[in-house]
């Protein structure tokens, strides 16, 4: 049963005027980008333009530089070579227009922060000085929580929420500034199938209603396979950029890994066999999906 897509974030910019200001129309632009630590090259020769409203999935095994890619887009990791522009300028100046959903991690203060506080951080958490409590900010927080379906637990501390609930709140926080780019780092990790679907639907609804570009770093392509425009596949032997059906093939992945890799398509799902720590291999939390009502095909572990 698919739940209806939630309402779009209200009072936000409408799609259409996104590309104004940038000559190329790309919100993220990489040219000859390289990242290396000492002599170890993580990725190099990366040329990529992310268009407004595009859904880009970033795949790759552990250690292939997915996290470094995220950090570079956030302006927290300088490139070793090449250029990166975000919204026509340096990445570190794009902060306000870039909604960031970080990898799920235990927060030391999660017993002290309620769902609504996390969303509020997204609005004015970075401002110095004291400000009187504002009804407008409070209403905006309520609107955002409602739009991601998190109103029921707005006043519950984060530590008492489930992973799926916390992820809804995270997406609300990322959307609080009405961003033009949504950068999600493994947002589906340790979520069961229903919550995976709910989270991807939230992200996609935002993309459709506002033309927000989505950069979606993930271990598992299947939950977003139907939404993805292009894939950036990072691997130790290089990278591939293209539509999923071009990149996720036996030939292209075998080249990337330098070993025989088979890509199978079963009931609309992609199964990668033979890749060391491939992105379509079942995640470690497979047992969590066992009790779901949705029938699921068993994937082949390499």
């Amino acid at each position: 049963m698919r739940r209806p897509a939630p309402a779009a974030i209200p009072r936000a910019r409408q799609g259409g005027d996104q590309a104004a200001g940038e000559g190329s129309g790309a919100v993220i632009s990489l040219r000859g980008a390289e990242l290396s630590y000492g002599t170890r090259v993580v990725w190099q020769g990366l040329d990529l333009d992310v268009r407004p409203g595009e859904f880009l999935a970033v795949l790759g095994p552990n250690g292939s530089g997915k996290t470094s890619f995220v950090r570079a887009l956030l302006g927290r990791q300088p490139l070793s070579a090449g250029t990166l522009t975000v919204l026509g300028g340096p990445a570190r100046e794009a902060g306000r227009h870039l909604g960031y959903v970080p990898q799920q991690a235990e927060l030391s203060a999660q017993a002290l922060i309620r769902a609504r506080d996390l969303v509020r951080f997204g609005i004015d958490g970075h401002r110095f000085g004291l400000r009187p409590r504002s009804g407008a900010v409070r209403r905006r927080v309520d609107e955002i929580l409602a739009s991601v379906g998190a109103s029921a637990y707005a006043d519950v501390p984060l530590g008492m929420l489930s992973g799926g609930e916390r992820q809804r709140v995270r997406i609300g926080q990322a959307l609080a500034t009405d961003p033009r780019i949504l950068l999600c780092d493994e947002p589906l990790l340790s979520l069961d199938l229903n919550h995976q679907r709910a989270v991807t639907e939230l992200v996609d609804a935002r993309r459709r209603s506002h033309g927000t570009s989505v950069v979606f770093v993930t271990h598992e392509i299947n939950p977003v396979l139907g939404l993805v425009d292009r894939v950036l596949y990072l691997a130790p032997g290089g990278h591939r950029i293209g539509a999923p059906e071009e990149v996720l093939t036996s030939q292209s992945l075998s080249e990337l890994y330098g070993t025989r890799v088979d890509v199978l398509r079963v009931q609309g799902r992609v199964v990668v066999v033979g890749a060391p720590d491939g992105p379509a291999s079942p995640p470690h939390h497979t047992h969590e999906t066992a009790h779901q009502a949705v029938p699921q095909t068993e994937e082949v572990r390499p």
């Binding site: 902060g95 002290l112 922060i113 506080d117 958490g125 029921a152 008492m160």
Partner: protein, 293 residues
């Protein structure tokens, strides 16, 4: 008089209470300021998981104060210098929690050792020595009070300015950094604020028991609320209650102030834990109710 009565009389005595009260007027004023500052700083100590750092800073603060006692200079100033050195070192050495704890573990015994050395060399009143470790009440004279109140005001202003980004950076450092909040700078700034707060607390409850003012009240408040407004308010209320209650109870007795302060503080924490257990159950029940899809 039985032994029990004798002990009781030693702990609780209210003879000539009115005259004694006039003597500690300064202490009561300083105590209120301290409760305010300690209660507020404590909120971030809990959020940033820094209780061990508080303890480490207080040992260095003790070393600074005992050096000042030996040299015959201002004890509050000595205590502040010790605190700031420790807080700065911890802030610089330990950005990550693991490094930080090692840095504190190394600094702490060194500070305590220095303090013991200075006290051993000091030939003055023994009560002065003991007071630095376990607290004293009547010791606040007018020049000291100026120092203490001035430092409190400085801490309050600093906290007011950095409150919001510091909350963001403490609770959600990854996203805060992505939004351009100077996470490392704020972390260092807070260590300095914490150093000043600890130096103030050392003057009243002593170096060994600073945690009772800077950690326990905030931890107690965190048990009963997660509201960003109520949490600091309750924390301050608990800290002020502990310290003023401690001063008033300790007044007639021959026992140092700290056991009174720590007992009140601990009792408040215990009560909050009980109340918090009820609160958790209430939210736990929420989950058994099916949520609308």
């Amino acid at each position: 008089m039985t032994l029990a009565e004798g002990v009781w009389h030693q702990i609780f005595s209210f003879e000539n209470y009115g005259e004694l009260l006039a003597l500690v007027r300064n202490s009561l004023v300083v105590g209120a300021a301290l409760g305010l500052v300690g209660g507020l700083a404590g909120v971030f100590v809990i959020m940033r998981d820094l209780p061990f750092a508080v303890h480490g800073i207080s040992e260095l603060s003790f070393a600074g104060a005992s050096a000042a006692l030996l040299l015959g200079t201002n004890i509050v100033a000595g205590s502040i210098v010790g605190s700031l050195l420790a807080a700065g070192a911890i802030g610089l050495l330990g950005a990550r929690a693991r490094d930080r704890n090692s840095a504190i573990g190394i600094l702490m015994p060194f500070g305590l050792g220095l303090g013991v050395l200075f006290l051993a060399l000091y030939k003055g009143r023994a009560a002065n020595k003991f007071g630095l470790l376990t607290g004293q009440i009547v010791a606040v004279d007018t020049p000291q009070m100026t120092w203490l109140l001035g430092t409190s005001a400085l801490v309050l202003i600093a906290l007011a300015v950095i409150w919001r980004p510091l909350t963001f950076a403490s609770a959600d450092p990854d996203v805060a950094a992505a939004r351009g909040v100077p996470v490392r700078g704020l972390s260092f700034a807070f260590m300095i604020v914490l150093g000043l707060t600890v130096a103030l607390s050392v003057q009243v409850v002593g170096a060994l028991l600073v945690l009772t003012l800077v950690v326990t009240p905030a931890a107690a408040a965190a048990r009963v609320t997660a509201s960003p407004v109520l949490l600091p308010l309750l924390s301050v209320a608990f800290a002020v209650l502990s310290i003023e209650g401690g001063i008033l109870l300790a007044l007639g007795s021959s026992i140092p102030i700290s056991p009174y302060v720590t007992t009140i503080s601990f009792t408040v924490y215990g009560l909050c834990r009980l109340a918090g257990a009820y609160r958790t159950r209430r939210w736990g029940d929420r989950r058994t109710v099916p949520r609308p899809a």
